[in-house]
Symmetry: C2
Subunit: 130 residues, 2 copies
DNA sequence: ATAGAGGTTCCAGTCACTGGAAGGTCAAGG
DNA sequence: CCTTGACCTTCCAGTGACTGGAACCTCTAT
């Protein structure tokens, strides 16, 4: 199978697939014409990667998950550990983002947003008067 | 004032301050020794930038906000517009992240995380059976 | 005189792609 | 047989917002 079909089936742009080969996430065979020749297993791997990436796992997480995925004798605890770490990071990011949102929403609400120059958003960004 | 003191007062690493100069966010004068000589106004500007960045505004947002900040006759509507756009982006990101969190939390919860190889996390990442 | 802290520039790397140029290959239609 | 256009290849450069490091200069205190 050529890269275009694989791209469609795995839901990843061809560029990204080539990039994944570059960094060693998979090593498709080559046909006589030099084209990459993907197997069903490759497609499966790429779909796995697409899902993991969509869940926000880093490439290095993905590399580890893929290795565990292919290791028939892995312990599920290992996978759970990676996922839990990632979950903790997401929670932290969520809290930060929520905090940012609240602050910003408050500022936006306080700004009348008309032709006049006085603006609580800028005043706040300027910090406490010295 | 030298860059180190400014860094402390504005809460930004020296490297970042130099970078901000590189991209034209400020242009501190130079002393006879070639050192950057920051004014109080520069410090204020950098603190403004630090706050805006902490709120997740992009550098280009910051450039615009800084210009509005320095424009005595700006309309607060302009500032509000930038902030509202940013708020919308944050909301979108929050929703995505929350979705990711829920999915991942569900998977983590479903995985027993022991020595055995079967793992719902990997099963889910592998996608629907074909 | 010297040591150490802090300043300078410039280049390269991060992360995960993405865009574009230059060129090779394939299948279909005239 | 030739052309057209879609698709493939590689390689290089750019994104955003820094960050690390090397090589070198300057200041202050001892």
């Amino acid at each position: 199978m050529n890269i275009g079909d694989v791209a469609t089936r795995a839901g990843l742009p061809p560029k990204t697939i080539r990039y994944y080969e570059d960094i060693g996430l998979l090593t498709p065979h080559r046909g006589a014409n030099g084209y990459r020749a993907f197997t069903e297993q490759d497609v499966h791997k790429l779909a796995f990667l697409a899902r993991a990436r969509a869940l926000g796992f880093t490439i290095e997480d993905c590399r580890a998950l893929l290795a565990l995925y292919e290791d028939e004798s892995r312990a599920s605890a290992e996978v759970k550990h990676i996922a839990e770490e990632h979950l903790a990071q997401i929670d932290e990011k969520l809290a930060q983002l929520q905090q940012m949102r609240d602050t910003l929403a408050h500022l936006v609400h306080a700004c009348h947003g008309d032709d006049r120059p006085d603006c609580p958003i800028l005043t706040d960004l300027a910090g406490p008067e010295s």
